[in-house]
Symmetry: C2
Subunit: 214 residues, 2 copies
DNA sequence: CCCTTGTGTAAGCACCTGCTTACAAAAGGT
DNA sequence: ACCTTTTGTAAGCAGGTGCTTACACAAGGG
């Protein structure tokens, strides 16, 4: 079924170029998240997509451009759909959930790609700007942007230790516990940040993983 | 001067092999800190040391072994000479100082080398274990080790944003301000952490120093 | 039918990587 | 002098990288 072109939608594709493009995009997204930019080779990406690597260059031009499309694709949904005061916890929980399905792996991709090249650092800076800008709105201090940067730093640092370094006991720690500790400590930095579990959660032995979606 | 062997100390070296070894070690330390493990090639390291790359392999065996010696050389001085309750601030200030002379760049090297290989992540994990273990002694909670991990995560995250990503305004921010904000917020996590500027700095110009304590 | 256009593939290129080998030159002992 | 050991170098190897080129199918139009 993956090979049969579905001309039901449009007859513009004769052998489903759009589908191949999408498969390449998906394969790249996964491999970038698993290995980072440098260690994910174009051959591996094409292999996972089940096509020849030459198609990758025909459709995207270069590996870097493919990386750009991957980052741009599902990257900012979380940023747009999450209210500011929930953003930190949602992003943190997304990071703690690891490679779960449907989660936004942009931050994970960035973390694993850091050493790759200066352009990758630039991409991370771009994404960071947006996150930090939103987080900065949670403080009315004149050092608000700096506080936003520091909050984002913690978010990335935790992801770093969990996803890349694999430090115990952080990796196996209960996401709720981590959230409570971090958000609690951040309350001193960002006054607009609602304390974790403040709303309806008793704060004791909590096992639920459903973050309140604003 | 660099070429004249100094046989004053010991006549075991005829053309100053020890000196060359040291120059290689210095060059590697600098390049690893600037570019990370992967992007610092053995040719660049040998070039900066002013010798042929073959000597690198004669003296160290492999690039990875050289990396190990670099990490082991000045890596743990800070860890041994700094009391636990001062470690976080000292490490943070070292990170904020950037590539200043004499500073311990081990964490910086780790940050820039993350994506490189699994062994590098292992090295970072090893160094992290030591830092986190010390930081964990600052909390008497049963989640002490987790809190140590979280503190270290923040430290690395800030380094990440400053050194690798180059996020503004964090890069240009006053180290004292950053220290006060971070250490202040961490007070809720690690009870044994002395608040920054408590002794002589009459802060409080921009923000409350007393965060909500757990 | 041929011919054009879009989709896919195999093979190769130029370059870079860590690492090795063969060889030259300095010191020192005898 | 001669020879050995140590220190240094130039050239090369095997493997991997991003990327390109030349070519094989599948459609549709004339």
């Amino acid at each position: 079924m993956a090979k049969t072109p579905q001309h039901g939608a449009a007859s513009t594709t004769r052998r489903d170029a759009q589908g191949t493009r999408l498969r390449l995009l998906d394969a790249a997204s996964g491999l970038f998240a698993e290995r980072g930019y440098e260690r994910a080779t174009v051959r591996d990406i094409a292999d996972r997509a089940g096509v020849n690597q030459a198609l990758l260059f025909r459709y995207f031009g270069s590996k870097k451009a493919l990386f750009g499309e991957v980052m741009a694709r599902g990257g900012h949904e979380q940023l747009r759909t999450t209210p500011a005061e929930r953003l930190f916890e949602v992003a943190l929980r997304g990071m703690l959930a690891g490679g779960r399905e449907g989660a936004d792996r942009s931050l994970e991709v960035c973390l694993r790609s850091i050493g790759g090249s200066d352009e990758i650092a630039g991409a991370l800076r771009g994404l960071g700007e947006e996150y930090a800008a939103v987080l900065a709105t949670l403080s009315e201090s004149d050092t608000g942007t700096l506080r936003g940067d520091l909050a984002l730093s913690w978010l990335l640092g935790i992801g770093l230790m969990r996803v890349v370094v694999g430090k115990e006991p952080l990796v196996s720690a209960d996401p709720d516990t981590v959230c409570r500790l971090v958000v609690g400590a951040l309350g001193g930095l960002l006054e607009g940040l609602p304390q974790a579990g403040e709303a309806g959660d008793g704060g004791g032995a909590d096992g639920r993983d459903g973050p309140a979606r604003g």
